[in-house]
Amino acid sequence: MDTQLISALISGLGMGSMYGLMALGFYITFAVSGTVNFAQGSSMMLGAVLCFTFAQTLDWSLWLAVPAALALCGLYGLLVERLAVRPFVRRGSDAWLMSTVALGIVLDNLVMHTFGKEPRSLPSSLAVSPVEVSGQGLGVYPLQLIIPLVGLALAAALHLVARRTRWGTALLATSQNRDAARLMGIPIGRAVAGAFALSTVLAGVAGMLIAPLANVNADMGTLFGLKAFSVAILGGITSAWGVMIAGLLFGLAESGITVALGSGYTHIITFALVIVALALRPNGLFGRAEVKKV
């Protein structure tokens, strides 16, 4: 196979699985509560920034830094739900869409003033020396190979947790039938809060994984978050595997277009494809059409 294609495939899958992970976060909160954190890119940035701060600035071991950063991401998710989602949902207002954006602006700027304005790089031994993949001189960083694996493994782990644990099935149940879930005694309020925490943790994981490849700074997540949202929608925000697959497809399309036409057209064509896909399949590629209730 052409080296170019292999390279595009690998980075497409890598980016795609990150989009997928974040889109999974959108899916989780949407399924459980019908709402999302529209500024999910900020959550991703938070994961990367916290990880950098703990591991680099404070020089903690990664074994401590990563869980600590993820725990704080989870807390931030609870904050988002409490501050920017619940007050609106309770009053039947759709303004959570706007309030989560506002909270994202606040977080981005707080991070800019505390973390600093300089882009930083989270050093990783997995992103220094490329390994050769095709025998024609082109290498990839081991991390690039690991990212899609970790992404898919996490999605699978999430799948298992959802299926095998008490709270996991409770979340699934809530997403499938809210009223029936309440009849099981599942506290919906806490389930929704938990969904937001989980979704933010997923975004945080994506941020950490991508940090050694990308640059860590306050607005690293903005565009990424939007793309992840389009992935979630493209997959049909009601299907977990759908959003993960859509993420991979989106990543592959992006890198494929960049290889074929150059990066100027990447956004134009990927977003046009999103429009076409939704026009043809109004509930996303893998979403299920609901029977029209009259």
Binding site: M15, T53, G137
Partner: protein
């Protein structure tokens, strides 16, 4: 770090900002000698915030020096008034109008984004307020066709940098086939044109020209096309983050091609971001705080260390061009105001032309401005540098 000294600084900064905002609205602030307001419109948030900070530090240090010497125009103090343009020209022009018409600044400084500066240029010319550029290198900023022209610059000019890049590469790498690697933003786009012109003057044309996005983490496809086109040198224009991605992707390809670059890599911790191979990028600078310093340099570094607790040495003065250009630009502007004897815009403009000799940081300026010459720096003032570890080192020193 995050929660100790830095955190404290944030509090101080925040408090200061809020207090200034409150104070600005109070009438009793009018003092015996009214201060002279110096405006600055630059990005203070978002990706270019660090550049805005660097310009601020250069200007503020110069202002502190001037005020310590008794201010200007018989004891009037200089006050810096900043506005955030969010790198958006539309926000920039609103801020420019505010500073010109409401704050009534004597002189306006610009930031790093060429489109924002270009949008402000007509306003400044129309309102007859001198507009000084310490960073944005777009050629038409100073060559704007207005008469009288109120725009001055103490920075590099893209057109000249592009010529310098070509000349430097030919001289040092014997380059014949240039591949262009341009960031997909206004800065990249105008340099792409500038490089084509510069090459054309040498009877050459780029073998290929590629764009890459600011948030791309894989530019192998673009670089592969450059290699396939037979490029023997890459001319790169991009901010520090994206420039680092170019180095990372080159490493993956195992392609050790020489890179000549605009000053983007100097905008941050390039070595940390790019990893091994960062030192292969040769980029243009107007000043280096490394190596032996002139007395002005020594003084400035000492002042920065004293004023900003995150500055411990030259490696913390980043991006250096922003600080250096702004520092010299402020002092030149002060001279112009003194020459003018008032804060009247046209008079200050004449005052710029009347500067004869000034020993600055970057060089000793000899009649830097004239009605035909609004750029204080020229190709002779460009310094070629590279990153050695965390230090920006002039290439000559290294040889």
């Amino acid at each position: 770090m995050l929660c100790t000294d830095k955190g404290l600084r944030i509090h101080k900064g925040l408090l200061a900002a809020v207090l200034t905002a409150l104070l600005a609205t109070l009438p009793w602030r009018a003092m015996a000698a009214e201060p002279i307001k110096i405006g600055l419109i630059t990005a203070l948030s978002g990706q270019s915030a660090l550049a805005g900070e660097a310009i601020t530090r250069g200007l503020q240090t110069a202002i502190d020096e001037i005020n310590a010497d008794g201010g200007l125009l018989d004891g009037r103090e200089l006050v810096l008034v900043r506005r955030d343009d969010e790198a958006n020209p539309a926000k920039g022009v609103v801020a420019a109008r505010e500073l010109i018409h409401k704050e009534k600044v004597a002189v306006l400084f610009g930031g790093l984004d060429t489109p924002v500066s270009l949008a402000i240029v007509p306003l400044a010319n129309q309102a007859r307020v001198p507009f000084v550029g310490p960073w944005a290198a777009g050629t038409p900023i100073t060559k704007n066709g207005a008469d009288p022209n109120f725009v001055f610059r103490v920075s590099a000019m893209d057109e000249l940098v592009d010529k310098a890049m070509v000349a430097y590469a030919q001289e040092n790498f014997g380059s014949e086939k240039f591949g262009l690697m341009m960031i997909n933003n206004p800065w990249g786009e105008s340099n792409q044109k500038g490089l084509v012109v510069a090459l054309d003057e040498k009877g050459m044309a780029p073998v290929a020209s590629e764009k890459f996005d600011g948030d791309a983490i894989d530019v192998v496809p673009q670089l592969t096309r450059l290699r396939d086109a037979g490029a023997d040198t890459i001319a790169m224009v991009g901010n520090v983050g994206p420039s680092a991605q170019v180095v990372k992707s080159l490493r993956r390809m195992g392609w050790g091609v020489p890179i000549v670059s605009h000053w983007g890599p100097a905008g941050g911790r390039f070595t940390e971001l790019a990893g091994p191979g960062a030192e292969k990028v040769h980029f243009v600078q107007t000043y280096s705080f490394f190596g032996e310093q002139s007395p002005v340099g020594e003084k400035l570094i000492a002042a920065l260390k004293a004023k900003y607790d995150d500055v411990d040495g030259p490696e913390d003065i980043t991006p250096a061009v922003g600080v250096a250009n702004a520092y010299d630009a402020m002092h030149l502007t002060a001279l112009a105001i003194e020459n003018a004897g008032s804060t009247d815009g046209p008079a200050i403009r004449e005052g710029f032309f009347a500067i004869d000799s000034y020993p600055g940081l970057i060089k000793t300026y000899e009649t830097p401005f004239s009605p035909q010459q609004h750029d204080a720096l020229g190709p002779d003032d460009y310094v070629w540098a590279q990153f050695i570890d965390n230090r920006i080192v002039p290439v000559e020193l290294n040889d």
